[in-house]
């Protein structure tokens, strides 16, 4: 469950990143339309909230919130590291991480 919340945090930050002109250009080409930008930010908020819910479900409100915030920071560094050195992996990671950890949570 904590892997899944980490993955959702990564997904949320990727969405926030894509909502910015410079990164959208670099990753997807072209500027995002205002609707798309709003959609991405809304999606990011939802993913973050879901991640928080998962953390709280796994470890309770007090510890879950701490883990959630720590995970967000760490996933941010993962995202920026990929953007800097392996740009193409950044987006595939946003799909693979939630899928992989989701499967892991279901099976485990």
């Amino acid at each position: 469950m904590l892997w899944l919340s980490f993955a959702l945090g990564y997904l949320a930050l990727t969405a926030l990143c894509l909502a910015m002109n410079r990164h959208h250009k670099a990753l997807l080409g072209g500027e995002p339309s205002p609707t798309r930008r709003r959609g991405l930010r809304l999606g990011a908020a939802v993913a973050m909230l879901l991640a928080l819910v998962l953390c709280i479900a796994a470890q309770g409100g007090e510890i879950g919130a701490v883990i959630w915030l720590c995970q967000l920071m760490v996933s941010g560094w993962l995202l920026v590291g990929l953007l800097a050195w392996r740009q193409r992996w950044a987006l595939s990671m946003a799909a693979l991480l939630p899928l992989g950890s989701g499967l892991f949570a279901l099976l485990g």
Binding site: L2, L13, M20, Q59, I63, I67, C70, V74, W77, A84
Partner: protein
């Protein structure tokens, strides 16, 4: 001078001066997240999982033989992370605690080592007692100032939130790195510096203690925690009640949960008191729910009440810093965040250097030498400590002292080397090569000196605490080897382009 300009000067110099000290605190604190795992790695006798058959009464007898007149005996039963007994005594009230690690089945004293606690002590008092604590506090204050001033002078917090340009010229790339680790990690950095100060706030701001409690720390402690104490009566103690029976009783009262530290105060006196503390990792606050028993009749004298609001707040903040809750996920996250703090400090130092290397300035040699001596020296000395832990003979007198000497000696060597080679452009490569050799050698040395602790055995039985340390060492060693390979040519000083320097100057660097 605008606010931003004055804050910029404050951030540059107020950040530079404590950064080496902060690096030591951050690095040691990060390692201390896994202090108990390191402790176990450093005690090969504990690598083979055994059966904990030693009872609390046997440990008390052991203490009675060695220190019948001690002010207090302390013991801690084995747990998953620490599969051995801690046993020790305070010779007199407030005197230095003598502690020993006992094998959980045979009861023999384990080979002496500084253990993982070495890094914990380095983290909060630099092995310098009260003075070290004050130095660390000043560094923490400086860190808070640097964080706040950094936020004020950073014009593009959100615009550059996800920006890292490693291919850019030196100053730009390091500034990106410094900003990235500082901004994304800001919640953690603020929290850890602030809660670090809260832990010993009573010593840093003693006015309340002096006025309201006449400088009697014991009185403040008893009142705020609700801890029970009764005085000695000067008559000899009767035959003691069984500690194991008391532990059974305590477990029932706690409704589950394991005992942490157990103490017996003035065991030679009729009024001797046994305190049993509950050990929990499911909450941030470390509420110990201490049960105090009469040491001979076994009668329950007192049950600690939940903390009042003030102490509860401090205790919660302290708990947030200590990361004893939430298990491995929290410890791992704190480790990564702490190392990110180290990276922020290194980034800041490199920005300072890159800026001045481009246009000249005072102190460049000194900063370079200190960077090599501290940022290269501390990790290498820590690796050397682990080598010393395995290579020093088991029967050596004052063995833990010898281990500490290995640490200090290795650090001094690196420092001398850093001063000698400063400015040659080859220092980085030298340090990476030494790091690679030391780190990659440790799992091998572990395999040679511990029959049950090598990767083959630990991975096979799923002992991730030990395997994780060996695997991390391998990872660190490979990373150092890679970096050493990339630095095989002497480094050249990057010349910042004129436009780039102007842009950086506009951004208030």
């Amino acid at each position: 001078m605008s606010l931003r300009q004055s804050m910029s000067g404050l951030h540059t110099w107020g950040g530079l001066l404590p950064s080496w000290l902060l690096f030591v605190i951050f690095f040691a604190g990060s390692l201390a997240c896994f202090d108990k795992e390191l402790e176990r790695w450093m005690r090969p006798a504990l690598h083979q999982p055994g059966v904990a058959s030693l009872t609390a009464d046997q440990v008390r007898d052991w203490l009675h033989e060695r220190a019948p007149n001690a002010h207090a005996w302390w013991m801690r039963p084995p747990s998953e992370r620490e599969p051995f007994w801690w046993a020790g005594w305070e010779p007199e009230e407030g005197a230095e605690f003598q502690r020993f690690a006992l094998d959980a089945s045979s009861g023999e004293v384990l080979t002496d080592t500084v253990g993982g606690m070495f890094f914990f002590t380095l983290h909060y008092e630099l092995h310098a007692g009260m003075l070290g604590m004050y130095i660390v506090a000043i560094a923490a204050m400086a860190m808070l100032i640097a964080l706040v001033s950094g936020v004020i002078i950073h014009r593009r917090i959100f615009k550059d939130f996800f920006t890292l340009r490693p291919a850019a010229n030196g100053q730009r790339a390091w500034l990106d790195a410094h900003n990235l680790f500082g901004v994304l990690g800001l919640p953690f950095h603020l929290l850890i510096a602030y809660t670090g100060l809260v832990i010993f706030v009573v010593f840093y701001m003693p006015a309340g203690l002096k006025v309201a409690y006449q400088d009697d720390f014991g009185a403040l402690f008893r009142e705020s925690t609700g801890y029970f104490e009764r005085g000695e009566v000067g008559r000899p103690a009767g035959p003691p009640a069984s500690l194991d029976t008391l532990l059974t009783d305590a477990r029932q009262r706690w409704g589950g949960g394991e005992p942490g530290w157990i103490s017996v105060h003035y065991p030679y006196d009729e009024a001797a008191v046994v305190d049993l503390r509950n050990w929990v990792s499911s909450r941030v606050t470390d509420f110990q729910w201490t049960l105090s028993y009469d040491a001979s009749s076994g009668e329950l004298l007192h049950e600690q009440k939940p903390y009042g609001a003030g102490y509860q707040t401090q205790s919660w903040l302290t708990g947030l810093h200590m990361a004893q809750f939430g298990g491995t996920p929290v410890r791992l996250l704190y480790l990564l965040l702490g190392l990110a703090g180290c990276a922020m400090l290194v980034g800041g130092l490199r920005v300072w250097l890159a800026k001045r290397e481009a246009r000249g300035g005072y102190g460049i040699g000194l900063v370079r030498a200190l960077n090599g001596a501290v940022i290269g020296g501390l990790p290498l000395a820590s690796l050397a400590l682990l080598w010393g832990n395995r290579l020093l003979p088991a029967g050596l007198a004052e063995r833990s002292r010898a281990e500490a000497m290995v640490f200090v000696g290795a650090w001094l060597l690196v420092a001398l080397w850093a001063v000698r080679r400063q400015g040659s452009g080859r220092l980085g490569r030298d340090l990476y090569v030494v790091g690679a050799v030391l780190a990659l050698g440790l799992p091998v040395l572990n395999a040679l000196t511990s029959s049950q602790g090598h990767l083959g055995a630990t991975l096979a039985r799923g002992d991730w605490a030990l395997a994780g340390i060996d695997l991390s060492l391998l990872g660190v060693g490979l990373l150092c080897a890679l970096l050493g390979w990339r630095h095989r040519q002497p480094g050249e000083v990057h010349q910042a382009g004129r436009r780039e320097s102007r842009r950086l100057a506009e951004e208030g660097v």
